[in-house]
């Protein structure tokens, strides 16, 4: 579903991604872990083309973008619509209700009728457990509820891949569970997902593969049990000790 080859990203002189190769099969869940500043967010933002990679290529489904050439804007927005992004700080639209947040993409970008979009948005919000909060504004929702609206908003565009950037790290511990449950449900429905998260339990229960990143490269990858219990690389061991 996703194939990333030789992906690099430089900010001026700072090389944040130093040649990432990654493959994610359809329906698989990959969890990315690694120290702060190792380039995890940048990797997701490159897949969503919120950052333009410096070189390398990304293929999703059958569309390929090769960043050694300049990529036309039209292709970027088409490519972006293949992925849905869930942000660490939710980034909900504060001037729109939960329902309107979810309807916005389908109505404005896909030009769906608002009756249709509204029905679909209601279903999605019910699915993430917010069927009774349709007309609440973000400020009236808890962080966990806001993040679930964020998930529904991304799903409304029917992406092929969902990207999550530390979706629970801004949440109070008691609110984490509902968000992780929504994500697990999604995984069990067969959604292809790339999740940056240090939630071990989620990784153990839902991930097909765990990737450890440090300083812009993938150091080690494997099944969750293997990475967490018997990491091969010293840097992975050190990092896991630090967060446990």
């Amino acid at each position: 579903m996703i194939t990333i080859k030789g992906l690099t990203k430089k900010f001026d002189d700072l090389e944040v991604l130093k040649g990432i190769d990654l493959e994610v099969e359809k329906g698989k869940v990959v969890v990315v872990i690694g120290p702060s500043g190792s380039g995890k967010t940048t990797l997701l933002r490159c897949i969503n083309i919120l950052e333009t990679p410096t070189s390398g290529s990304i293929t999703i489904s059958n569309s390929q973008l090769d960043f050694s050439k300049t990529v036309p804007k039209k292709r970027i927005s088409a490519f972006r619509s293949l992925t849905g992004m869930v942000f660490q700080s939710y980034n909900l639209f504060p001037h729109k209700t939960a329902l309107e947040n979810v309807m916005e993409g389908p109505v404005i970008v896909k030009k769906e009728s608002s009756a249709n979009a509204s029905r679909k948005a209601e279903q999605l919000l019910s699915k993430v457990g917010l069927g009774d909060k349709l007309h609440y504004y973000p400020f009236q929702l808890s962080g966990g509820q806001q993040q679930r609206v964020g998930i529904a908003r991304a799903l409304a565009m029917e992406p092929k891949v969902m990207l999550f950037d530390e979706p629970t790290s801004a949440l109070d511990p008691e609110l984490v569970g509902d968000v992780l449950k929504a994500m697990k449900d999604l995984a069990s429905e067969g959604m292809t997902m790339v999740v940056v998260s240090h939630e071990m339990r989620f990784a153990r229960e839902a991930a097909d593969e765990v990737i450890f990143m440090d300083r812009g490269i993938i150091i080690e990858r494997g099944a969750p049990e293997q990475i967490f219990s018997t990491p091969k690389e010293e840097r992975t061991q050190q990092f896991l000790q630090m967060i446990q």
Binding site: F87, S89, H95, Y137
Partner: protein, 249 residues
């Protein structure tokens, strides 16, 4: 020091005499009441047919110009940025009255003759455009980058994100300073009297020139400006409350 104090007390004395002359002299009082009554309608007409339309038209055009200027400033396209900067700097760096004189009395010299009212509209629109563009630019910049990105991430292009996500939020931030601009504009339209627009203040001047009751007529005009601005500040409060509905108190 002493002479200044003496001058002041002398002036207070004159004011007292003026007021005395009104209230102890029934004929004088009646004359003033009559003039006030008969000039009210012409003044209101000046307000309704000139002051208010001039304000509304100039503000609408100015606001459009302001949004375009703000977007040019933020476009990242150097020539556009420079043009926008020069425009804002020139308008803010020169007196409004001088600008109006250039348009109305100056341009005919090079063969461009514009009627008083359109001249005033051009002058005031250019002014609002420059001042409000700074307000709008600051408001747009105050919206977190994550809002743009959230828009892009659900497939929006620049225009869609701007129109649906950024401007609605920026408008909430900019309503209080834009209201100030609007209220200033109401008062600034009195300068149009200098380029022969028969708005309210010019009407007051014309009437006062026939009966010499300057204090009465200018005070009357001032009160009408005040009433208009007072009503506007109430409207402003309502709009702010409406736009605040999605913000936690």
């Amino acid at each position: 020091m002493k002479t200044v104090l003496m001058q002041i007390s002398l002036k207070i004395g004159l004011v007292k005499m003026y007021l005395n002359s009104i209230f102890t002299n029934p004929e004088r009082l009646e004359r003033l009441t009559n003039i006030a009554e008969s000039s009210l309608l012409p003044l209101l007409k000046g307000a309704i047919f000139y002051t208010i339309p001039l304000t509304l038209i100039s503000f609408a055009l100015g606001l459009t110009l302001a949004i375009l200027t703000a977007l040019a400033r933020l476009s990242g396209i150097k020539p556009l940025e420079i043009i926008a900067r020069i425009y804002v700097s020139a308008i803010r760096g020169t007196p409004l009255l001088v600008q109006l004189f250039i348009i109305f009395y100056g341009l005919p010299t090079v063969g461009i003759t514009i009627d008083p009212f359109p001249s005033a509209v051009i002058g005031f629109s250019l002014n609002v455009g420059a001042y409000a563009s700074e307000i709008i630019r600051a408001a747009i910049q105050s919206i977190p980058k994550g809002q743009w990105e959230a828009g892009y991430s659900i497939g929006m292009n620049y225009q869609q994100a701007l129109k649906r996500i950024i401007l609605p939020q920026a408008s909430r931030v900019s309503i209080p300073p834009l209201s100030n601009t609007f209220i200033s504009l109401v008062k600034d339209t009195s300068l149009a009297s200098m380029i022969l627009v028969t708005e309210m203040f010019r009407k007051a001047q014309e009437i006062a020139a026939t009966n010499y009751e300057f204090l009465l007529l200018y005070t009357q005009a001032a009160l009408i400006y005040w009433v208009i601005c007072f009503i506007l500040s109430i409207v402003q409060g309502r709009i702010e409350r409406r736009l605040d509905r999605y913000v936690s108190k």
